[in-house]
Amino acid sequence: MTVTVERHGGPTVRKDHRPDRPHSGGPRTPYVLYLLPGVLAFLAVVVVPFLMNTGVSFTDWQGVGSPKWSGLANYRELVDDDEFWASFRHSLFMVVAMAVVPTALGLVLAAALFDYIGKHFGGRIAAVLRACFYLPQVLPVAVAGIVWSWILAPDNGSLNELLKAAGLGSWQQDWLGDPDIALYSVMGVMVWVQLGFPLVVFMAGLQRVDPQLYEAAELDGAGWWRRFRHITLPQIRPETQVVLTWCTIAALKVFGAVYVLTKGGPGGATDVPSYFSFATFFEKTQVGYGAAISTVLTAIILVLSLVGLRLQTRAEDAEEGIRS
Protein backbone atom coordinates (compact mmCIF):
# COMPACT_ATOMS: atom_id res chain seq x y z
CA MET A 1 0.00 0.00 0.00
CA THR A 2 2.84 2.35 0.59
CA VAL A 3 4.48 4.48 -1.96
CA THR A 4 7.61 2.85 -3.18
CA VAL A 5 10.34 5.39 -3.39
CA GLU A 6 12.28 4.40 -6.47
CA ARG A 7 15.55 4.08 -4.76
CA HIS A 8 16.88 0.63 -4.17
CA GLY A 9 18.36 -0.88 -7.27
CA GLY A 10 16.52 1.43 -9.63
CA PRO A 11 14.76 0.08 -12.68
CA THR A 12 15.11 -3.60 -13.28
CA VAL A 13 14.96 -3.45 -17.03
CA ARG A 14 17.26 -1.58 -19.33
CA LYS A 15 18.71 0.99 -17.08
CA ASP A 16 19.76 4.07 -18.99
CA HIS A 17 18.65 2.51 -22.20
CA ARG A 18 16.73 5.23 -23.91
CA PRO A 19 16.51 3.94 -27.41
CA ASP A 20 15.16 7.07 -28.98
CA ARG A 21 17.01 9.97 -27.54
CA PRO A 22 20.62 10.21 -28.53
CA HIS A 23 20.32 8.95 -32.09
CA SER A 24 16.98 9.78 -33.53
CA GLY A 25 17.45 13.56 -33.34
CA GLY A 26 14.47 15.72 -34.13
CA PRO A 27 12.85 18.39 -31.96
CA ARG A 28 12.63 16.54 -28.67
CA THR A 29 12.33 18.12 -25.27
CA PRO A 30 14.80 16.72 -22.77
CA TYR A 31 12.93 15.42 -19.75
CA VAL A 32 14.74 17.78 -17.41
CA LEU A 33 12.76 20.66 -18.88
CA TYR A 34 9.56 19.20 -17.42
CA LEU A 35 11.04 19.79 -14.02
CA LEU A 36 11.56 23.47 -14.68
CA PRO A 37 8.17 24.86 -13.55
CA GLY A 38 8.25 22.66 -10.47
CA VAL A 39 11.75 23.70 -9.51
CA LEU A 40 11.02 27.41 -9.97
CA ALA A 41 7.79 27.18 -7.99
CA PHE A 42 9.48 25.29 -5.18
CA LEU A 43 12.30 27.79 -5.06
CA ALA A 44 9.83 30.65 -4.64
CA VAL A 45 7.40 29.04 -2.22
CA VAL A 46 9.49 26.61 -0.22
CA VAL A 47 13.25 27.04 -0.52
CA VAL A 48 13.56 30.81 -0.34
CA PRO A 49 11.05 31.24 2.52
CA PHE A 50 12.63 28.38 4.42
CA LEU A 51 16.12 29.85 4.10
CA MET A 52 14.78 33.28 5.04
CA ASN A 53 13.11 31.83 8.10
CA THR A 54 16.30 30.10 9.18
CA GLY A 55 18.28 33.28 8.57
CA VAL A 56 15.84 35.42 10.53
CA SER A 57 16.14 33.03 13.48
CA PHE A 58 19.66 34.41 13.99
CA THR A 59 18.44 37.98 14.12
CA ASP A 60 16.46 40.34 16.26
CA TRP A 61 13.56 41.50 14.11
CA GLN A 62 10.09 42.89 14.74
CA GLY A 63 8.92 42.44 11.15
CA VAL A 64 9.61 46.05 10.14
CA GLY A 65 12.90 47.72 9.40
CA SER A 66 15.95 45.62 8.82
CA PRO A 67 16.80 42.59 10.98
CA LYS A 68 19.69 42.97 13.43
CA TRP A 69 22.12 40.07 13.54
CA SER A 70 22.11 38.54 16.98
CA GLY A 71 23.84 35.22 16.44
CA LEU A 72 22.60 32.46 18.66
CA ALA A 73 20.87 34.80 21.10
CA ASN A 74 17.38 33.56 20.21
CA TYR A 75 18.38 29.96 20.70
CA ARG A 76 20.04 30.75 24.00
CA GLU A 77 16.85 32.43 25.10
CA LEU A 78 14.84 29.39 24.03
CA VAL A 79 16.82 27.08 26.27
CA ASP A 80 15.79 29.11 29.30
CA ASP A 81 12.22 29.69 28.18
CA ASP A 82 9.78 27.62 30.24
CA GLU A 83 7.02 28.29 27.75
CA PHE A 84 9.12 26.71 25.01
CA TRP A 85 9.81 23.56 27.02
CA ALA A 86 6.18 23.34 28.06
CA SER A 87 5.04 23.55 24.45
CA PHE A 88 7.30 20.66 23.47
CA ARG A 89 6.19 18.65 26.49
CA HIS A 90 2.62 19.13 25.32
CA SER A 91 3.76 17.93 21.90
CA LEU A 92 4.61 14.60 23.47
CA PHE A 93 1.07 14.39 24.83
CA MET A 94 -0.17 15.13 21.32
CA VAL A 95 1.98 12.30 19.96
CA VAL A 96 0.25 9.98 22.40
CA ALA A 97 -3.18 11.30 21.42
CA MET A 98 -2.61 11.46 17.66
CA ALA A 99 -0.16 8.63 16.97
CA VAL A 100 0.11 6.07 19.75
CA VAL A 101 -3.52 5.74 20.82
CA PRO A 102 -5.08 5.92 17.33
CA THR A 103 -2.58 3.37 15.99
CA ALA A 104 -3.23 0.94 18.84
CA LEU A 105 -6.99 1.38 18.73
CA GLY A 106 -6.92 1.35 14.95
CA LEU A 107 -5.13 -2.00 14.88
CA VAL A 108 -7.65 -3.64 17.19
CA LEU A 109 -10.64 -2.07 15.45
CA ALA A 110 -9.36 -2.87 11.97
CA ALA A 111 -8.72 -6.48 12.91
CA ALA A 112 -12.11 -6.75 14.60
CA LEU A 113 -13.92 -5.19 11.64
CA PHE A 114 -12.05 -7.13 9.00
CA ASP A 115 -11.60 -10.50 10.59
CA TYR A 116 -14.67 -10.66 12.81
CA ILE A 117 -17.49 -8.42 11.65
CA GLY A 118 -16.59 -8.80 8.00
CA LYS A 119 -16.60 -12.58 8.26
CA HIS A 120 -19.57 -13.15 10.53
CA PHE A 121 -21.86 -10.29 9.63
CA GLY A 122 -20.84 -9.40 6.10
CA GLY A 123 -18.65 -6.80 4.45
CA ARG A 124 -21.42 -4.23 4.23
CA ILE A 125 -21.72 -3.79 7.97
CA ALA A 126 -17.95 -3.57 8.24
CA ALA A 127 -17.87 -0.90 5.52
CA VAL A 128 -20.59 1.17 7.20
CA LEU A 129 -18.81 1.01 10.55
CA ARG A 130 -15.53 1.94 8.89
CA ALA A 131 -17.20 4.96 7.30
CA CYS A 132 -18.45 6.09 10.73
CA PHE A 133 -14.94 5.96 12.14
CA TYR A 134 -13.51 7.77 9.13
CA LEU A 135 -16.04 10.60 9.07
CA PRO A 136 -14.19 12.98 11.46
CA GLN A 137 -11.16 12.79 9.17
CA VAL A 138 -12.86 14.74 6.39
CA LEU A 139 -14.05 17.45 8.74
CA PRO A 140 -12.07 20.71 8.65
CA VAL A 141 -10.26 20.93 11.94
CA ALA A 142 -11.74 24.37 12.56
CA VAL A 143 -15.21 22.88 12.36
CA ALA A 144 -14.27 19.97 14.61
CA GLY A 145 -13.04 22.58 17.07
CA ILE A 146 -16.34 24.43 16.99
CA VAL A 147 -18.31 21.24 17.52
CA TRP A 148 -16.22 20.08 20.44
CA SER A 149 -15.75 23.37 22.22
CA TRP A 150 -19.54 23.61 22.29
CA ILE A 151 -19.96 20.02 23.50
CA LEU A 152 -17.32 20.58 26.18
CA ALA A 153 -18.62 23.98 27.27
CA PRO A 154 -18.95 24.35 31.04
CA ASP A 155 -22.52 25.68 31.07
CA ASN A 156 -25.10 23.89 29.02
CA GLY A 157 -22.44 21.86 27.20
CA SER A 158 -23.69 18.50 26.01
CA LEU A 159 -21.15 16.49 27.94
CA ASN A 160 -21.92 18.16 31.25
CA GLU A 161 -25.64 17.89 30.55
CA LEU A 162 -25.23 14.22 29.79
CA LEU A 163 -23.34 13.65 33.03
CA LYS A 164 -26.05 15.44 34.96
CA ALA A 165 -28.76 13.40 33.27
CA ALA A 166 -26.86 10.24 34.15
CA GLY A 167 -26.74 11.28 37.81
CA LEU A 168 -23.00 11.99 37.66
CA GLY A 169 -23.34 15.72 38.25
CA SER A 170 -20.26 15.76 40.42
CA TRP A 171 -18.17 14.74 37.40
CA GLN A 172 -18.99 17.94 35.55
CA GLN A 173 -15.95 19.95 34.59
CA ASP A 174 -14.91 23.05 32.77
CA TRP A 175 -13.30 20.72 30.27
CA LEU A 176 -11.37 23.28 28.24
CA GLY A 177 -11.08 25.99 30.88
CA ASP A 178 -9.48 24.10 33.74
CA PRO A 179 -5.68 24.12 33.37
CA ASP A 180 -5.44 20.66 34.93
CA ILE A 181 -7.89 19.07 32.49
CA ALA A 182 -7.69 21.12 29.28
CA LEU A 183 -4.76 19.21 27.81
CA TYR A 184 -6.50 15.87 28.31
CA SER A 185 -9.70 17.22 26.77
CA VAL A 186 -7.78 18.37 23.70
CA MET A 187 -6.11 14.95 23.55
CA GLY A 188 -9.51 13.26 23.62
CA VAL A 189 -10.71 15.40 20.73
CA MET A 190 -7.56 14.58 18.76
CA VAL A 191 -8.07 10.84 19.23
CA TRP A 192 -11.58 11.31 17.84
CA VAL A 193 -10.24 13.28 14.88
CA GLN A 194 -7.37 10.96 14.09
CA LEU A 195 -8.70 7.45 14.67
CA GLY A 196 -10.23 6.95 11.22
CA PHE A 197 -6.95 7.33 9.42
CA PRO A 198 -5.02 4.36 10.88
CA LEU A 199 -8.20 2.30 10.77
CA VAL A 200 -8.69 2.78 7.04
CA VAL A 201 -5.03 2.19 6.24
CA PHE A 202 -4.93 -0.98 8.33
CA MET A 203 -8.12 -2.33 6.82
CA ALA A 204 -6.66 -1.79 3.37
CA GLY A 205 -3.47 -3.52 4.48
CA LEU A 206 -5.34 -6.50 5.84
CA GLN A 207 -6.81 -7.16 2.42
CA ARG A 208 -3.49 -8.32 1.10
CA VAL A 209 -2.95 -10.81 3.93
CA ASP A 210 -3.47 -14.35 2.69
CA PRO A 211 -6.77 -15.61 4.16
CA GLN A 212 -5.30 -19.10 4.28
CA LEU A 213 -3.07 -17.97 7.10
CA TYR A 214 -6.12 -17.25 9.21
CA GLU A 215 -7.88 -20.42 8.16
CA ALA A 216 -4.87 -22.54 9.02
CA ALA A 217 -4.52 -20.84 12.39
CA GLU A 218 -8.21 -21.29 13.08
CA LEU A 219 -7.99 -24.99 12.25
CA ASP A 220 -5.10 -25.24 14.65
CA GLY A 221 -7.37 -23.86 17.32
CA ALA A 222 -5.86 -20.38 17.65
CA GLY A 223 -8.33 -17.93 19.19
CA TRP A 224 -9.00 -14.44 17.90
CA TRP A 225 -6.43 -12.79 20.15
CA ARG A 226 -3.67 -15.20 19.17
CA ARG A 227 -4.41 -14.77 15.48
CA PHE A 228 -4.31 -11.00 16.03
CA ARG A 229 -0.92 -11.18 17.71
CA HIS A 230 0.74 -13.76 15.53
CA ILE A 231 -0.75 -13.05 12.10
CA THR A 232 -2.34 -9.61 11.92
CA LEU A 233 0.34 -7.62 13.72
CA PRO A 234 3.37 -9.03 11.89
CA GLN A 235 1.61 -8.97 8.52
CA ILE A 236 0.69 -5.29 8.60
CA ARG A 237 3.86 -4.10 10.21
CA PRO A 238 4.87 -1.92 7.25
CA GLU A 239 1.56 -0.07 7.46
CA THR A 240 1.96 0.32 11.19
CA GLN A 241 5.36 1.94 10.78
CA VAL A 242 4.17 4.32 8.10
CA VAL A 243 1.10 5.30 10.08
CA LEU A 244 3.09 5.87 13.26
CA THR A 245 5.60 8.06 11.46
CA TRP A 246 3.01 10.14 9.64
CA CYS A 247 0.80 10.54 12.68
CA THR A 248 3.74 11.54 14.86
CA ILE A 249 4.68 14.24 12.37
CA ALA A 250 1.06 15.38 12.19
CA ALA A 251 0.99 15.53 15.99
CA LEU A 252 4.08 17.73 16.09
CA LYS A 253 2.48 20.07 13.56
CA VAL A 254 -0.93 20.31 15.22
CA PHE A 255 -2.17 23.88 15.08
CA GLY A 256 -5.77 24.39 14.00
CA ALA A 257 -7.34 22.32 16.76
CA VAL A 258 -5.42 24.15 19.46
CA TYR A 259 -6.19 27.52 17.90
CA VAL A 260 -9.90 26.86 17.81
CA LEU A 261 -10.32 24.89 21.05
CA THR A 262 -8.13 26.73 23.54
CA LYS A 263 -5.72 29.17 21.85
CA GLY A 264 -3.02 27.46 23.87
CA GLY A 265 -4.74 28.32 27.13
CA PRO A 266 -5.75 28.39 29.85
CA GLY A 267 -2.48 29.91 31.02
CA GLY A 268 -0.45 28.05 28.38
CA ALA A 269 -1.74 24.66 29.55
CA THR A 270 -2.32 23.47 25.98
CA ASP A 271 0.34 25.46 24.16
CA VAL A 272 2.14 23.56 21.39
CA PRO A 273 5.20 24.62 19.34
CA SER A 274 3.27 25.54 16.21
CA TYR A 275 0.82 27.71 18.13
CA PHE A 276 3.66 29.15 20.19
CA SER A 277 5.56 30.17 17.07
CA PHE A 278 2.38 31.54 15.45
CA ALA A 279 1.65 33.70 18.49
CA THR A 280 5.26 34.86 18.65
CA PHE A 281 5.21 35.80 14.96
CA PHE A 282 1.89 37.52 14.71
CA GLU A 283 0.79 38.55 18.18
CA LYS A 284 4.05 39.43 19.90
CA THR A 285 5.72 40.22 16.54
CA GLN A 286 9.04 38.87 17.78
CA VAL A 287 9.79 37.47 14.36
CA GLY A 288 13.35 36.39 15.08
CA TYR A 289 12.30 34.45 18.14
CA GLY A 290 9.34 32.87 16.38
CA ALA A 291 11.65 31.82 13.54
CA ALA A 292 13.95 30.14 16.06
CA ILE A 293 11.02 28.16 17.52
CA SER A 294 9.88 27.01 14.08
CA THR A 295 13.44 26.14 13.09
CA VAL A 296 13.78 23.84 16.08
CA LEU A 297 10.41 22.28 15.27
CA THR A 298 11.50 21.78 11.65
CA ALA A 299 14.75 20.13 12.69
CA ILE A 300 12.89 17.67 14.92
CA ILE A 301 10.35 16.86 12.21
CA LEU A 302 13.01 16.37 9.53
CA VAL A 303 14.98 13.99 11.73
CA LEU A 304 11.84 12.01 12.50
CA SER A 305 10.89 11.96 8.81
CA LEU A 306 14.27 10.59 7.81
CA VAL A 307 14.06 7.89 10.47
CA GLY A 308 10.54 7.07 9.30
CA LEU A 309 11.57 6.95 5.64
CA ARG A 310 14.44 4.63 6.48
CA LEU A 311 12.11 2.30 8.35
CA GLN A 312 9.76 2.40 5.40
CA THR A 313 12.39 1.59 2.77
CA ARG A 314 13.75 -1.16 4.95
CA ALA A 315 10.28 -2.62 5.39
CA GLU A 316 9.78 -2.41 1.65
CA ASP A 317 13.05 -4.13 0.95
CA ALA A 318 11.82 -6.95 3.14
CA GLU A 319 8.40 -7.03 1.53
CA GLU A 320 9.38 -6.50 -2.07
CA GLY A 321 6.75 -7.34 -4.61
CA ILE A 322 3.64 -7.55 -2.48
CA ARG A 323 2.04 -4.33 -3.49
CA SER A 324 0.60 -3.57 -6.82
Partner: protein, 274 residues
Protein backbone atom coordinates in the same frame (compact mmCIF):
# COMPACT_ATOMS: atom_id res chain seq x y z
CA UNK B 1 -25.31 -21.52 18.77
CA UNK B 2 -22.94 -20.55 21.53
CA UNK B 3 -20.52 -18.98 19.06
CA UNK B 4 -23.37 -17.02 17.55
CA UNK B 5 -24.20 -15.69 20.98
CA UNK B 6 -20.60 -14.77 21.58
CA UNK B 7 -20.37 -12.85 18.34
CA UNK B 8 -23.01 -10.28 19.14
CA UNK B 9 -21.22 -8.48 21.98
CA UNK B 10 -18.36 -7.64 19.63
CA UNK B 11 -20.75 -6.17 17.10
CA UNK B 12 -22.60 -4.25 19.78
CA UNK B 13 -19.36 -2.89 21.22
CA UNK B 14 -18.19 -1.75 17.80
CA UNK B 15 -21.54 -0.17 17.04
CA UNK B 16 -21.39 1.77 20.29
CA UNK B 17 -17.87 2.94 19.43
CA UNK B 18 -19.02 3.96 15.95
CA UNK B 19 -21.98 5.76 17.46
CA UNK B 20 -19.61 7.69 19.70
CA UNK B 21 -17.77 8.87 16.58
CA UNK B 22 -20.97 10.03 14.93
CA UNK B 23 -22.82 11.43 17.95
CA UNK B 24 -21.19 14.89 17.80
CA UNK B 25 -22.53 15.28 14.27
CA UNK B 26 -26.01 14.27 15.39
CA UNK B 27 -26.02 16.61 18.38
CA UNK B 28 -25.01 19.49 16.14
CA UNK B 29 -27.71 18.71 13.61
CA UNK B 30 -30.36 18.41 16.30
CA UNK B 31 -29.46 21.67 17.99
CA UNK B 32 -29.03 23.70 14.86
CA UNK B 33 -32.76 23.42 14.20
CA UNK B 34 -33.85 24.43 17.71
CA UNK B 35 -34.98 27.92 18.55
CA UNK B 36 -32.94 29.78 21.19
CA UNK B 37 -35.91 29.67 23.56
CA UNK B 38 -36.27 25.96 23.19
CA UNK B 39 -32.53 25.49 23.61
CA UNK B 40 -32.39 27.42 26.85
CA UNK B 41 -35.49 25.68 28.16
CA UNK B 42 -34.58 22.09 27.35
CA UNK B 43 -30.80 22.12 27.00
CA UNK B 44 -28.75 20.47 24.26
CA UNK B 45 -29.88 16.89 24.69
CA UNK B 46 -33.60 17.13 23.96
CA UNK B 47 -35.07 16.43 20.55
CA UNK B 48 -36.23 19.52 18.67
CA UNK B 49 -39.96 20.38 18.77
CA UNK B 50 -40.07 21.93 15.36
CA UNK B 51 -37.81 22.82 12.52
CA UNK B 52 -36.33 26.20 13.23
CA UNK B 53 -34.18 27.54 10.43
CA UNK B 54 -33.81 31.18 11.44
CA UNK B 55 -30.59 30.45 13.28
CA UNK B 56 -29.04 29.03 10.17
CA UNK B 57 -30.27 31.72 7.82
CA UNK B 58 -29.26 34.56 10.13
CA UNK B 59 -25.81 33.04 10.56
CA UNK B 60 -25.56 32.59 6.80
CA UNK B 61 -26.32 36.24 6.20
CA UNK B 62 -24.22 37.54 9.04
CA UNK B 63 -20.99 35.94 7.88
CA UNK B 64 -21.89 36.02 4.19
CA UNK B 65 -21.44 32.28 4.12
CA UNK B 66 -22.17 32.00 0.40
CA UNK B 67 -19.09 34.09 -0.33
CA UNK B 68 -17.00 31.87 1.95
CA UNK B 69 -18.21 28.80 0.13
CA UNK B 70 -17.34 30.37 -3.21
CA UNK B 71 -13.87 31.27 -1.93
CA UNK B 72 -13.23 27.79 -0.58
CA UNK B 73 -14.51 26.17 -3.76
CA UNK B 74 -12.46 28.45 -5.95
CA UNK B 75 -9.24 28.01 -3.99
CA UNK B 76 -9.61 24.26 -3.51
CA UNK B 77 -10.54 23.54 -7.13
CA UNK B 78 -7.74 25.69 -8.51
CA UNK B 79 -5.21 24.07 -6.19
CA UNK B 80 -6.46 20.59 -7.07
CA UNK B 81 -6.12 21.13 -10.82
CA UNK B 82 -2.87 23.11 -10.76
CA UNK B 83 -1.35 20.88 -8.09
CA UNK B 84 -2.05 17.75 -10.12
CA UNK B 85 -0.67 19.40 -13.26
CA UNK B 86 2.54 20.38 -11.50
CA UNK B 87 2.85 16.93 -9.93
CA UNK B 88 2.42 15.29 -13.33
CA UNK B 89 5.16 17.40 -14.90
CA UNK B 90 7.57 16.69 -12.04
CA UNK B 91 6.74 13.02 -11.90
CA UNK B 92 7.06 12.68 -15.68
CA UNK B 93 10.64 13.87 -15.52
CA UNK B 94 11.44 11.73 -12.48
CA UNK B 95 9.42 8.56 -13.06
CA UNK B 96 9.49 8.23 -16.83
CA UNK B 97 12.30 10.54 -17.90
CA UNK B 98 14.49 8.99 -15.20
CA UNK B 99 16.58 12.13 -15.20
CA UNK B 100 20.00 12.11 -13.60
CA UNK B 101 20.05 12.57 -9.86
CA UNK B 102 16.34 11.74 -9.61
CA UNK B 103 16.78 10.16 -6.20
CA UNK B 104 17.97 13.51 -4.88
CA UNK B 105 15.26 15.43 -6.65
CA UNK B 106 12.68 13.09 -5.18
CA UNK B 107 14.21 13.34 -1.72
CA UNK B 108 13.93 17.10 -2.05
CA UNK B 109 10.20 16.88 -2.74
CA UNK B 110 9.70 14.45 0.12
CA UNK B 111 11.46 16.81 2.52
CA UNK B 112 9.48 19.77 1.19
CA UNK B 113 6.36 17.78 1.95
CA UNK B 114 7.44 17.14 5.53
CA UNK B 115 8.37 20.73 6.26
CA UNK B 116 6.07 22.29 8.85
CA UNK B 117 4.21 25.30 7.52
CA UNK B 118 5.32 27.24 10.58
CA UNK B 119 8.80 27.38 9.05
CA UNK B 120 7.43 29.03 5.90
CA UNK B 121 4.56 31.12 7.15
CA UNK B 122 6.30 34.32 8.11
CA UNK B 123 8.49 34.69 5.01
CA UNK B 124 5.53 33.76 2.80
CA UNK B 125 3.48 36.42 4.56
CA UNK B 126 6.27 38.95 4.21
CA UNK B 127 7.12 38.14 0.59
CA UNK B 128 3.49 38.18 -0.48
CA UNK B 129 3.14 41.64 1.02
CA UNK B 130 6.20 42.75 -0.94
CA UNK B 131 4.76 41.24 -4.12
CA UNK B 132 1.36 42.83 -3.55
CA UNK B 133 -0.29 39.42 -3.25
CA UNK B 134 -1.13 39.59 0.44
CA UNK B 135 -4.80 38.99 1.21
CA UNK B 136 -5.56 37.64 -2.23
CA UNK B 137 -6.95 34.22 -3.01
CA UNK B 138 -4.29 33.91 -5.69
CA UNK B 139 -1.52 33.88 -3.07
CA UNK B 140 -3.11 30.97 -1.25
CA UNK B 141 -3.67 29.13 -4.52
CA UNK B 142 0.00 29.51 -5.47
CA UNK B 143 1.31 28.39 -2.10
CA UNK B 144 -0.91 25.34 -1.79
CA UNK B 145 -0.40 24.31 -5.41
CA UNK B 146 3.27 23.97 -4.61
CA UNK B 147 2.85 22.37 -1.19
CA UNK B 148 0.35 19.80 -2.44
CA UNK B 149 2.49 19.10 -5.49
CA UNK B 150 5.29 18.03 -3.16
CA UNK B 151 3.16 15.12 -2.07
CA UNK B 152 1.78 14.55 -5.55
CA UNK B 153 5.26 14.35 -7.05
CA UNK B 154 6.26 11.81 -4.44
CA UNK B 155 3.23 9.62 -5.09
CA UNK B 156 3.12 9.96 -8.87
CA UNK B 157 6.85 9.41 -9.38
CA UNK B 158 6.55 5.97 -7.92
CA UNK B 159 3.40 5.22 -9.91
CA UNK B 160 4.96 6.41 -13.17
CA UNK B 161 8.15 4.55 -12.32
CA UNK B 162 6.12 1.39 -12.88
CA UNK B 163 4.55 2.65 -16.09
CA UNK B 164 4.85 0.05 -18.90
CA UNK B 165 7.88 1.16 -20.89
CA UNK B 166 6.80 -0.71 -24.02
CA UNK B 167 3.84 1.61 -24.42
CA UNK B 168 6.02 4.68 -24.34
CA UNK B 169 8.61 3.22 -26.63
CA UNK B 170 5.99 2.16 -29.13
CA UNK B 171 4.63 5.71 -29.24
CA UNK B 172 8.13 7.10 -29.63
CA UNK B 173 8.83 4.81 -32.55
CA UNK B 174 5.63 6.09 -34.11
CA UNK B 175 7.15 9.55 -33.94
CA UNK B 176 5.42 11.05 -30.93
CA UNK B 177 7.53 13.55 -29.02
CA UNK B 178 7.75 13.51 -25.26
CA UNK B 179 5.05 16.16 -24.87
CA UNK B 180 2.61 14.11 -26.94
CA UNK B 181 3.52 10.99 -25.02
CA UNK B 182 2.71 12.80 -21.80
CA UNK B 183 -0.70 14.14 -22.85
CA UNK B 184 -1.91 11.39 -25.13
CA UNK B 185 -0.60 8.35 -23.31
CA UNK B 186 0.70 8.86 -19.79
CA UNK B 187 -2.05 11.15 -18.53
CA UNK B 188 -5.01 9.15 -19.93
CA UNK B 189 -3.62 5.85 -18.66
CA UNK B 190 -2.87 7.26 -15.19
CA UNK B 191 -6.28 8.85 -14.90
CA UNK B 192 -7.46 6.82 -11.87
CA UNK B 193 -4.44 7.86 -9.80
CA UNK B 194 -4.78 11.45 -10.95
CA UNK B 195 -8.41 11.36 -9.87
CA UNK B 196 -7.43 10.23 -6.41
CA UNK B 197 -4.87 13.03 -6.18
CA UNK B 198 -7.40 15.58 -7.39
CA UNK B 199 -9.85 14.60 -4.66
CA UNK B 200 -7.19 14.60 -1.97
CA UNK B 201 -5.82 17.99 -2.95
CA UNK B 202 -9.31 19.42 -3.00
CA UNK B 203 -10.28 18.13 0.44
CA UNK B 204 -6.92 18.92 2.02
CA UNK B 205 -6.94 22.47 0.70
CA UNK B 206 -10.54 22.90 1.84
CA UNK B 207 -9.47 21.90 5.35
CA UNK B 208 -6.25 23.94 5.53
CA UNK B 209 -6.12 26.43 8.34
CA UNK B 210 -2.83 28.08 9.30
CA UNK B 211 -1.74 29.66 6.01
CA UNK B 212 -5.21 30.83 4.95
CA UNK B 213 -5.66 32.26 8.45
CA UNK B 214 -2.52 34.32 8.04
CA UNK B 215 -2.92 35.22 4.39
CA UNK B 216 -6.63 35.97 4.09
CA UNK B 217 -7.58 38.72 6.48
CA UNK B 218 -10.43 40.44 4.73
CA UNK B 219 -13.94 39.02 4.97
CA UNK B 220 -14.38 38.83 1.22
CA UNK B 221 -11.46 36.48 0.73
CA UNK B 222 -11.76 34.13 3.68
CA UNK B 223 -12.39 30.43 3.33
CA UNK B 224 -15.00 28.49 5.26
CA UNK B 225 -12.42 27.05 7.65
CA UNK B 226 -10.84 30.39 8.42
CA UNK B 227 -14.12 32.26 8.83
CA UNK B 228 -15.49 29.66 11.23
CA UNK B 229 -12.22 29.32 13.12
CA UNK B 230 -11.89 33.06 13.60
CA UNK B 231 -15.50 33.41 14.76
CA UNK B 232 -14.98 30.62 17.24
CA UNK B 233 -11.73 32.19 18.42
CA UNK B 234 -13.52 35.46 19.18
CA UNK B 235 -15.97 33.66 21.47
CA UNK B 236 -18.79 35.91 20.32
CA UNK B 237 -21.26 33.25 19.28
CA UNK B 238 -24.21 32.07 21.32
CA UNK B 239 -25.24 28.42 21.36
CA UNK B 240 -27.67 28.57 18.45
CA UNK B 241 -25.26 30.43 16.29
CA UNK B 242 -22.44 28.07 17.17
CA UNK B 243 -24.60 25.18 16.08
CA UNK B 244 -25.61 26.87 12.88
CA UNK B 245 -21.92 27.53 12.18
CA UNK B 246 -20.98 23.96 12.99
CA UNK B 247 -23.75 22.51 10.86
CA UNK B 248 -22.88 24.70 7.89
CA UNK B 249 -19.24 23.71 8.31
CA UNK B 250 -20.04 20.02 8.62
CA UNK B 251 -22.39 19.80 5.64
CA UNK B 252 -19.85 20.34 2.85
CA UNK B 253 -17.52 17.85 4.52
CA UNK B 254 -20.30 15.26 4.61
CA UNK B 255 -21.16 15.97 0.99
CA UNK B 256 -17.52 15.43 -0.02
CA UNK B 257 -17.40 12.36 2.12
CA UNK B 258 -20.42 10.81 0.42
CA UNK B 259 -19.33 11.84 -3.05
CA UNK B 260 -15.69 10.90 -2.66
CA UNK B 261 -15.95 8.10 -0.11
CA UNK B 262 -14.75 5.36 -2.39
CA UNK B 263 -11.98 7.46 -3.84
CA UNK B 264 -10.83 8.55 -0.42
CA UNK B 265 -10.64 5.11 1.10
CA UNK B 266 -9.21 3.57 -2.06
CA UNK B 267 -6.77 6.44 -2.37
CA UNK B 268 -5.45 5.75 1.08
CA UNK B 269 -5.08 2.15 0.09
CA UNK B 270 -2.94 3.27 -2.83
CA UNK B 271 -0.69 4.96 -0.35
CA UNK B 272 -1.90 8.49 -0.19
CA UNK B 273 -0.86 8.87 3.38
CA UNK B 274 -0.65 12.18 5.08
Amino acid sequence: MTTALRRWPVLVALCIAALFMVVPFLIVAVNAVKSPAEYSANGPLSLPDGFYTDGITSFWERVDYGQKLVNSLLISSAVAVLGVALSVLNAYAIGIGRIKGRTWVLAFFVLANMLPQEALVYPVYYLSKEAGLYDTRLSVIIVFTVLQAAFGTYLLSSVLGHFPREVIEAARIDGANSWQVLWRIVVPISRPTLGVLLVFFFVWTWNEFLLPLVMLVSNDNQTVSVALGVLQGQRLMDATMTNAAALLGVLPAIVFFLVFQRTLTRGIAVGAVR
